[in-house]
């Protein structure tokens, strides 16, 4: 073994992309990255970036960064989706836009990116932006850990993007079932990129779960009992309990697959005592709670949005809380419905089918509660309500097809077909994506100080709503016609092509909707002076975040609020209308965490470790591990991590902010 073998592991130029599509994608990504870096040098913005964004421990800024990363990855995920649609149109009779191997990497990347980096990114982003404000806190319970979580997320994101430039990605689907993803059938680095990118980002998620749960339990404003909390906060609480219980399963399972691949072990091989069925059970024991982790905060967002824009109390607050807990418990006892066809006996299949159906009950109750919130409300149809409308139509349909597939004997005929693909996109797009988009539009002015252009936002929502139906209803039909998922070509005699063409048109409509959203952002920034949120309360809101100026100051609340009821800000406004005088509160000194680059450094070492393990560069892997440990030790022995703002300073800043000349730090 030469010196260079040890130095560079199995890294070699043989692993550069071989087909034109991947080469084009890698080149574009490299060019964009280089351009961004060059721009930073040209405009001399590195110091500003480091001091104001990369080292910040302000949850609102971390939230903005999560959302920016999620949007960028969303564009990549949609590009993957477009490629899938094009290939499945030309694939009638064996035509080729991308070859089979590339196609399998494309759909694996599509699913992995959308779930782990877009959906999770938007979710953690929105929670960071809103949760502390909404419960009357200044920041999350562990601001430094928050930064570590974000940067580990970025490290995972970088790994998955580098795979396109060298090594290629996993061809094993977004969940990577062995034996296909075992050493025998996939010896190359692709599956390893998948494992380590998720392993690193997954640690970040687990830490966020602990962080946000502690924040809710320990950092609520005085007087805000749990049953006075907004439903969004409840939904985050339940989702974070799911994160804490589920993500360790993912870590362990990916770890075992990693050991199989790195050290020739036999956890999930077909022979020598291994059991791939165990992988499938474990990965779905994580995977099912994961989809509830994604949807519950979206439900929480709709609870806030609907109550606010209907100018009415949320119907059935207590029931909403009970429903959340019912969903939380049930989501741990349904996982087998993802593999009814794996040959478990009828008793087992029937049990899991029934538990799966039972989840439909609390979910349905939530939808009814939102509808009854609309009843006898005074509805302002701003764009978040457009998203809500689309959500009810779309998600309910998806829920129905879910109940269908919960019947094992029906599932035998639609499992792994395009019917399944249509179902899960139905609930993820209709529920998770529409919910997060509604949240972004709703809370945008609170973070940035101006509202988004309404008209373009509504057009975007219509494009997504219509585009979704055109893109996915044909897939339900195709599934019933016997079309399996993940096919890159099929016999022309099947007659499937026309439906794929319709689906392709649907994705084009959605892509236009995305273009409108980007246009909306650009136009809104351009027009921001005429859309300033001068009061901090653009929607006649009900909850505490609307009681601070927009953009929200870096300290959130100049004076920590005291709460006596649900919808505390609404009640406060009502009291003022009745002529009651608010209690005069005193300014006090505030302690805030200092900025630190340690999160970036830890994630940097984690990235090096991941890259090294993938390419078998063992010395670099050791550097990565030791680097993380040493950095953590240095940080934990640092006692000087906070600074104080005096009461006078706060009073000055507060008066400025309320006079409309506020600045964030």
């Amino acid at each position: 073994m030469s010196f260079f073998d040890g130095l560079l592991g199995r890294l070699s130029i043989d692993y550069l992309p071989q087909d034109m599509i991947t080469q084009g994608g890698a080149a574009s990504m490299a060019l964009i990255g280089l351009f961004a870096i060059a721009a930073m040098f040209y405009f001399k913005k590195w110091t500003w970036l480091w001091e104001n964004w990369l080292t910040t421990l302000d949850a609102k800024k971390i939230g903005v960064m999560y959302i920016i990363v999620a949007v960028i990855m969303g564009l990549r995920g949609v590009a993957d989706a477009l490629m899938i649609r094009v290939q499945q149109i030309v694939g009638s009779g064996g035509g080729e836009f991308v070859n089979s191997d590339t196609f399998q990497q494309v759909f694996s990347a599509h699913g992995t990116i959308m779930i782990f980096f877009v959906a999770m990114g938007l979710m953690f982003g929105l929670i960071n932006l809103v949760l502390p404000l909404m419960i009357g806190a200044r920041d999350v319970a562990f601001p430094f850990l928050n930064s570590v979580s974000f940067w580990l997320f970025v490290a995972g994101m970088i790994l998955i993007n580098i795979s396109m430039m060298i090594g290629g990605f996993s061809p094993g689907g977004w969940l990577g079932y062995p034996p296909l993803t075992g050493l025998e059938y996939s010896p190359g680095p692709g599956v390893d990129y998948w494992i380590w990118s998720l392993q690193i980002a997954g640690i970040g998620s687990l830490l966020s779960g602990v962080n946000f749960l502690t924040t809710i339990l320990r950092k609520r404003a005085k007087g805000m009992t749990l049953m006075k909390m907004p439903i969004f906060a409840w939904s985050v609480l339940v989702a974070m309990v799911l994160v804490i219980f589920a993500f360790p399963i993912l870590t362990a399972t990916l770890g075992m697959l990693g050991l199989d691949r790195l050290m020739g072990m036999h956890f999930f091989t077909s022979d020598a005592g291994g059991n791939p069925m165990m992988y499938i059970n474990l990965i779905w024991a994580w995977g099912h709670p994961e989809v509830y982790i994604l949807i519950l905060p979206a439900f929480g967002i709709f609870s806030e949005v609907v109550a606010t824009y209907c100018q009415k109390r949320l119907f059935g607050y207590k029931t909403m809380v009970y429903a959340l807990f019912a969903i939380m418990f049930l989501s741990f006892i349904v996982w087998l419905h993802h593999f009814f066809t794996m040959g478990a006996g009828a008793n087992v299949n029937a049990f899991f089918g029934i538990t799966t159906m039972i989840i439909a009950i609390p979910t349905g109750v939530k939808i009814f509660n939102w509808l009854f919130t609309m009843y006898r409300g005074k509805i302002n149809f701003r764009s978040p309500m457009f998203w809500f409308f689309s959500f009810v139509m779309t998600f309910t349909l998806g829920g129905m097809t879910g109940v269908l597939m919960a019947v094992p004997a029906i599932d035998f005929q639609v499992h792994n077909s395009l019917f399944l693909v249509a179902h899960f996109h139905n609930v993820i797009i209709g529920g998770v994506v529409f919910g997060y988009f509604a949240g972004l539009a709703y809370w945008f002015p609170k973070i940035f100080g101006f509202t988004l252009n309404e008209r373009i936002g509504k057009y975007a929502a219509i494009c997504w709503g219509v585009g979704f139906l055109v893109a996915f209803l044909p897939l339900y039909a195709l599934g019933l016609m016997g079309a399996t998922r993940r096919l890159d070509h099929y016999d022309a005699s099947t007659g499937w092509q026309p439906l794929f063409i319709v689906a392709g048109i649907g994705v084009a409509i959605i892509a236009f909707g995305i273009f409108l959203q980007l246009l909306q952002l650009a136009v809104s920034i351009w027009q921001r002076k005429s859309n300033l949120d001068t009061t901090g309360d653009p929607w006649n809101g009900r909850t505490l975040e609307w009681s601070v100026p927009s953009p929200a100051p870096f300290y959130n609340f100049a004076i920590s609020p005291v709460v006596t009821s649900r919808d505390p800000f609404w009640e406060q406004k009502e009291a003022v209308k009745r002529g009651e005088k608010p209690e005069k509160l005193r300014y006090e000194a505030i302690e805030l965490p200092k900025n630190t680059g340690v999160g970036v450094i830890i994630a940097g070492f984690a990235f090096l470790f991941g890259f090294a393990v993938i390419w078998h560069i063992w010395w670099l892997a050791a550097v990565g591990v030791i680097g993380v440990i040493v950095t953590v030790i240095i940080r934990t022995s640092n006692d000087d991590t906070e600074y104080t703002i005096s009461a006078d300073e706060i009073e000055k800043l507060d008066r400025l902010a309320r006079a409309g000349k506020g600045q964030t730090a």
Partner: protein
């Protein structure tokens, strides 16, 4: 060339027929909830729109009603209860491991998912074929299924639901064709780069035609034994069906046992060098 066929909704056998009936029934039952939800959404959106000219009632503090909550929990509970009973019963009735009720003697077929084709072994007839499954009409077929490949899924939508094909495991499925014809079969689980080519034809014919087909295979020059199997199992796709006379006893079991050893499964199949 077959016309466009919605296989799941055009069952050609008893199992698929029962599954379709379940699908239709469950869809109709779900509409009991879905349609009122859509109706309420549209009606409430129109009537309570703040910018509509007609003034509607506005009750900003109305947040609960026992009767409504009882109905919104109650009706879904009843529907799910009904569906649960049907689920229990149908899951047992349509268990792939359950043999079909019939006076006709069942046909045994052993299925091996390979990269990237399907091998069908007829142990009682001592023949085998690749990508062509010929079966007699109105005869229950008992499949035992394994793989010498990554995980696959054995699926003939016209005849009934699928079951996974896994190396080192043997799953079972029972299907019956009640009409003659050619039906599409495929693998419903990603198993590597050639997986989209794992299509096969399930051909249901009269008993006479089936017997004639078996006789043709018995006279085939192609022998399927341990050696030719090893060739066949190499990763490759197949353009036209291959037909064999089976000259190795217990080939299916040998394939299955390859994965049961404690060493690597690259152990030689017995009978080869």
């Amino acid at each position: 060339m077959r016309g466009v066929n919605v296989d799941v909704l055009n069952p050609m056998g008893e199992v698929a027929m029962k599954q379709k009936n379940l699908l239709v029934f469950t869809t109709l039952l779900s509409l009991v909830v879905i349609l009122p939800v859509f109706a309420m959404l549209i009606i409430f959106s129109v009537r309570y729109n703040a910018s509509s000219k007609k003034k509607a009632a506005y009750k900003p503090n109305w947040e609960g009603n026992k009767a409504i909550e009882a109905v919104m929990w109650g009706i879904p509970c009843v529907i799910i209860l009904v569906l649960s009973v049907i689920t229990w019963q149908s899951t047992h009735d349509l268990d792939p491991y359950k043999k079909l009720d019939s006076d006709v003697k069942p046909l045994n077929v052993q299925v091996v998912a390979l990269q990237w084709k399907w091998l069908f072994i007829y142990p009682d007839q001592q023949v085998a074929s690749v990508n062509l499954l010929q079966i007699p009409k109105d005869t229950p077929v008992n499949f035992t299924i394994t793989a010498d490949a990554p995980m696959n899924s054995f699926w003939i939508p016209s005849l009934g639901g699928q079951v996974y094909a896994m190396s080192g495991m043997s799953t079972q499925l029972s299907l019956i064709a009640n009409k003659t014809g050619d039906f599409k079969g495929s693998s419903a689980n990603l198993s590597g780069s050639g997986f989209a080519d794992m299509n096969f034809t399930a051909r249901s014919s009269s008993q006479v035609e089936f017997d004639a087909w078996v006789a043709t295979l018995k006279n085939s020059k192609n022998q399927l034994d341990a050696v030719s199997y090893k060739e066949l199992a190499k990763p490759a796709t197949v353009d036209t069906p291959l037909l064999y006379v089976l000259t190795q006893d217990g080939l299916y079991d040998t394939i299955l046992m390859k994965y049961m050893s404690h060493g690597s499964h690259h152990v030689q199949v017995e009978g080869t060098e």
